[in-house]
């Protein structure tokens, strides 16, 4: 029996349709298929102007002069602003470290840094005016890697650091350093029968969300501004925007516009402040929409990394130790680099039990493009390397790679290298078993009655082979991702839930600031409200800053944290509704006082199923409303010297099996199948869960065989900022993705659920690499793999 009088949670809602566990359809689905859904780039306002950003053409330079006269004189131009026009003393922003200039001052630190902004009555006028701004640069040497960043005479990317990491980093061009030291690696190495080492390179990946950075800033009569914006976290944006504008937060109103994907790339600000500045300067609404070229410069990317690993094992395949050094290139500004370092280091050995560990992860400041959050967030780069190491170790031991992983797989109770016990199910071995047990696609699957179908062969419609030189390979990988914000962050969400009678029917309204970026949060929010309040009709209020923060749509956290907040608020609403019922109707039936009461199908019922009242009669004209914050259990920072600490909230596990066919003569890869098994704790919406797993898997496939932002090492300039030259998987590149969903409840989490979105992005990449290695016999220590790596041409 619950001690607080709350009806039994297991049974509440089980009799109401459209609740948790059902594959209900998206509430925004109809709008999205009819073209009526309003994305941030679709915003329009009478009299609006178009904003344009002028970006640096060089990566590292002093700004000698900026001349805006000709741009200002262009007909149709309403404003040109530079650093000198910023209205307050706050001229920088940033997620954790406020090191990013709103507009460059005296110096640019990466290719494509914003220098000036223009507002005009037509986007082309704004573009042409921006091109007339004359910026004179005096170029500086570029910092592009660890060697140049930490050389004795290295130029400092940031000369006057005063952030809270500067005291513990070995060099001012290192943003953050996190060691994780546990046990005694030197002694453990003595016990090892085999030791394998490897050096791995992970390329710079772009989120490549399809909806470009965009929004509309509308000046308001009280001197404030209303921003309609695509973001991952409204309140984080607000906290960074308001001080630069010199406005109190309540005068910067933010409403979430439709978001065309995010994947981490919308955690940092892009055009938000620029649009607001131009709107306040001109007194007119200002719309800014990046094109794809600008989008490649307008958001942070996934950190490229160098990873150095040593794994030891006894002859039976038991890991003795892992030693690793992970160097992440954070680029010119800090963004989320410190947290990425925390993830890469603390999850650096993967989902394996190892007692003796010595890991160091650092993020560099360089003049490369800034890097920050992307789906998988530090755990992706580490997984690529430690899984390659596990295969290498298996080969050295003459063991089956899945058997080696199974033998070392962590379980519930295993300690992470941080000393934190994994205190929920960790079915690593089971996921591997499941993914291995799936049937394999048939050999020579490209053959049909009409001969070879080139669409199913490497090279595809280029018609480069009909099966000659094509070799199949199979590879496995498994990964571990933390869920939620770690390392002591106060990671909460807020939900406002209202229940009232509308049109003769009880209706729940759920209002949060959660950024729906496509993941389907709005779908599960309605499901949770139906389950907890026993109603059919749920209205999802548009997300805005008139309700408390929901935290970020990242770290696979929203269903857990905002879902948890909604459930909590619903429980409180339910109690109030039942109290109302007891007051109004309690005298009519003794069960009001004595029975466990549930809300089901719009009625108050006893746990025995007896109907006591209709919610319409209980509520009458009254509305019951609750707004509450909700937190998951607290975490703590990692010790800066040893990395010990209970830093994580929850873990998410996925395993992949990749089947590839490689044209070994031309170095072309066709991924035939990419099977995934994942534990999701509880699938609140099975259709959406599978969609997340397939989407995450495909982003991992992309960085395995095609996706990389190429930066010229001599100039630090980006060479491929377009979808012509930066390739993401098409439907022809993407294989079938069978998914096996396991549901082992995490008792700490609402409904036992686990965050789903990121784990499949981890193991997908190393599984594909392992399969290509199996097909070719090549070592392949970098990702993405390109044809020249497979044909010996590189």
């Amino acid at each position: 029996m619950p001690t607080n009088g709350v009806p039994t949670k297991i049974t509440q809602g089980s009799g109401t349709k459209g609740g948790i566990g059902e594959s209900t359809l998206r509430p925004d689905g109809t709008l999205k298929v009819t073209g009526e859904f309003a994305y941030s780039s679709d915003m329009w306002h009478e009299d609006m102007l178009w904003g344009q950003i002028l970006r640096s053409t060089v990566a590292h330079a002093e700004i000698v002069s900026v001349d805006t006269a000709e741009a200002l004189a262009t007909p149709g131009v309403y404003a040109v602003m530079t650093y000198d026009d910023l209205p307050t003393e706050v001229k920088h922003y940033g997620l954790e470290i406020q090191d990013t200039p709103v507009l460059a001052h005296g110096k640019v630190r990466h290719h494509g840094e914003p220098v000036a902004i223009v507002a005009a009555d037509h986007p082309e006028t704004a573009r042409r005016a921006a091109a007339k701004i004359k910026v004179e640069y005096r170029e500086l040497p570029v910092i592009t890697d660890e060697a140049s960043a930490t050389a004795p005479d290295a130029v400092l990317v940031h000369e006057h650091r005063d952030d809270h990491h500067v005291g513990h980093v070995p060099h001012p061009n290192i943003v953050h350093r996190q060691p994780i030291v546990r046990g005694d690696v030197a002694a453990a190495r003595e016990r090892a029968d085999v030791v394998v080492e490897g050096e791995y390179t992970f390329g710079m990946q772009d989120q490549a969300f399809l909806g470009p950075e965009s929004g509309l800033a509308v000046p308001e009569e009280d001197g404030g501004v209303h921003l309609y914006i695509a973001t991952q976290w409204l309140h984080s944006d607000l906290r960074q925007i308001a001080p630069v504008l010199g406005l109190p937060e309540d005068k910067v109103r933010m409403t979430l516009a439709g978001v065309g994907g995010a994947f981490g790339g919308r955690e940092d600000l892009s055009m938000q402040i620029h649009a607001c500045l131009l709107a306040l300067r001109t007194g007119k609404p200002v719309k800014i929409v990046y094109n794809r070229f600008e989008s490649f410069f307008g958001h942070v990317h996934r950190h490229p990394a160098k990873l150095y690993y040593e794994h030891g094992a006894t002859a039976d395949g038991t890991l003795t130790h892992v030693k690793a050094r992970i160097v992440l290139d954070g680029g010119a500004y800090a963004s989320a680099s410190p947290a990425v370092v925390g993830n890469a280091s603390s999850l650096g050995v993967g989902p394996y039990a190892v007692d003796d560990v010595d890991i160091e992860a650092i993020a560099l400041y360089t003049n490369n493009p800034p890097c920050g959050a992307m789906r998988g967030f530090g755990a992706v780069q580490a997984c690529f390397a430690y899984e390659a190491q596990m295969d290498k170790l298996a080969a050295r031991l003459g063991m089956d790679p899945v058997e080696l992983r199974r033998r070392n797989a962590m379980e519930q109770g295993t300690l992470l290298p941080t000393g934190q016990p994994v205190d929920s199910p960790a079915p690593v071995a089971e996921l591997l078993r499941r993914v291995k047990a799936m049937p394999l696609p048939p050999e020579r699957q490209w053959e049909s009655s009409e001969g070879a179908d080139v669409r199913q062969l490497p090279g595809g419609l280029s018609n480069t082979t009909h099966g000659e030189g094509v070799v199949r390979g199979i590879g496995y990988a498994v990964g571990i991702k933390n869920v939620g914000f770690s390392e002591g962050f106060d990671d909460y969400s807020t939900a406002r839930v209202r229940m009232e009678v509308v049109g003769g029917e009880p209706v729940a309204t759920v209002h949060t600031a959660m950024a729906e970026v496509g993941q389907g949060g709005v779908t599960v929010h309605a499901q949770i409200a139906r389950t907890e309040l026993g109603v059919a009709q749920v209205t999802i209020h548009p997300a805005d800053t008139r309700v408390g923060s929901a935290g970020s749509t990242s770290a696979s956290r929203q269903t857990y944290v905002t879902g948890g907040a909604i459930r909590h608020a619903c429980e409180l609403v339910r109690e109030k509704v039942l109290d109302l019922g007891r007051r109004k109707l309690g005298s009519y039936h003794p069960a009001w006082a004595h029975a466990e009461l549930l809300l089901e199908g719009g009625k108050v019922v006893t746990d025995g199923g007896e109907v006591l009242a209709d919610l319409v009669d209980v509520l009458g004209d009254e509305a019951v409303e609750v707004e509450e914050e909700w937190r998951h259990r607290p975490t703590e920072p990692f010790d800066l010297r040893t990395g010990q600490g209970n830093g994580h909230v929850q873990y998410s596990f996925a395993a992949h099996r990749a089947v590839v066919e490689v044209d070994t003569e031309l170095g072309l890869v066709k991924v035939i199948e990419l099977a995934c098994a994942q534990d999701v704790g509880k699938a609140l919406n099975p259709l959406s869960v599978v969609g997340q797993i397939q989407g995450g898997t495909t982003q991992g496939l992309g960085v395995a065989v095609m996706e990389e932002i190429l930066v010229d090492p001599r100039t630090a300039k980006v060479r491929n900022p377009s979808f012509t030259d930066y390739l993401i998987p098409t439907i022809l590149d993407t294989p079938t993705i069978p998914v096996d969903v396991l549901e082992l409840a995490d008792d700490h989490a609402p409904y036992g659920l686990r965050g789903v979105g990121e784990a499949p992005t981890l193991s997908s990449t190393p599984a594909v690499l392992a399969a290509i290695r199996a097909a070719t016999g090549l070592e392949l220590n970098r990702t993405p793999v390109r044809p020249e790596h497979l044909t010996g041409m590189s």
């Binding site: 594959s23 359809l25 998206r26 925004d28 689905g29 109809t30 709008l31 999205k32 298929v33 009819t34 073209g35 009526e36 859904f37 994305y39 780039s41 679709d42 329009w44 037509h122 082309e124 989120q207 490549a208 969300f209 399809l210 909806g211 470009p212 439709g258 978001v259 065309g260 994907g261 995010a262 994947f263 094109n291 794809r292 179908d453 669409r455 199913q456 970026v517 496509g518 993941q519 389907g520 259709l687 959406s688 599978v690 969609g691 397939q694 989407g695 995450g696 898997t697 495909t698 982003q699 377009s722 979808f723 012509t724 993401i728 098409t730 439907i731 022809l732 993407t734 079938t736 993705i737």
Partner: protein, 194 residues
Amino acid sequence: MRVNFTVNGRPQQADDVWEGESLLYVLRERLGLPGSKNACEQGECGSCTVRLDGVPVCSCLVAAGQAEGREVVTVEGLAEYARLRARDSGDADGACGTSLDEAKGWRADGADAQTGEGAGLSPVQQAFIDAGAVQCGFCTPGLLVAADEMLERNPDPSDADIREALSGNLCRCTGYEKIMDAVRLAAARQSEGV
């Protein structure tokens, strides 16, 4: 300049069009039809796919002036276009596209901007919702126009046919599996006459 063309069966006129404006820009910013999307504006992603005299094109690569006097179908008009095609399929010889004359003889009914209701959905639109093929939805309009056109030509596509026909439309969210499911579902429903 002034551009006249037909969009979703309705004659449209856009004034003061700068010669460099794309058909996509005019649809989105001058005609209030933002359903066609601007994911790359360089002809690589297919999010802006519309039909120009029946042919699927990237509207970001079509200069607005090139549309002069021509018929454009966007995602906003897809449901009505499909409805009339289904109605007329009895007279037409199989699923061989909509003739220009037929195309000129119809117009899309307005949909409620808040709920989308009133449009009625085409089979492929409904299938995208039912199969879970919509996540962020930014690729969806272009994919719907492309998929609808493929099913018009090829009502019983193989998986490889679907992949080939949709290979010009990038999606970053779904991994395409649910999109495959949706197109298969639409094809099956179409063949069953649902």
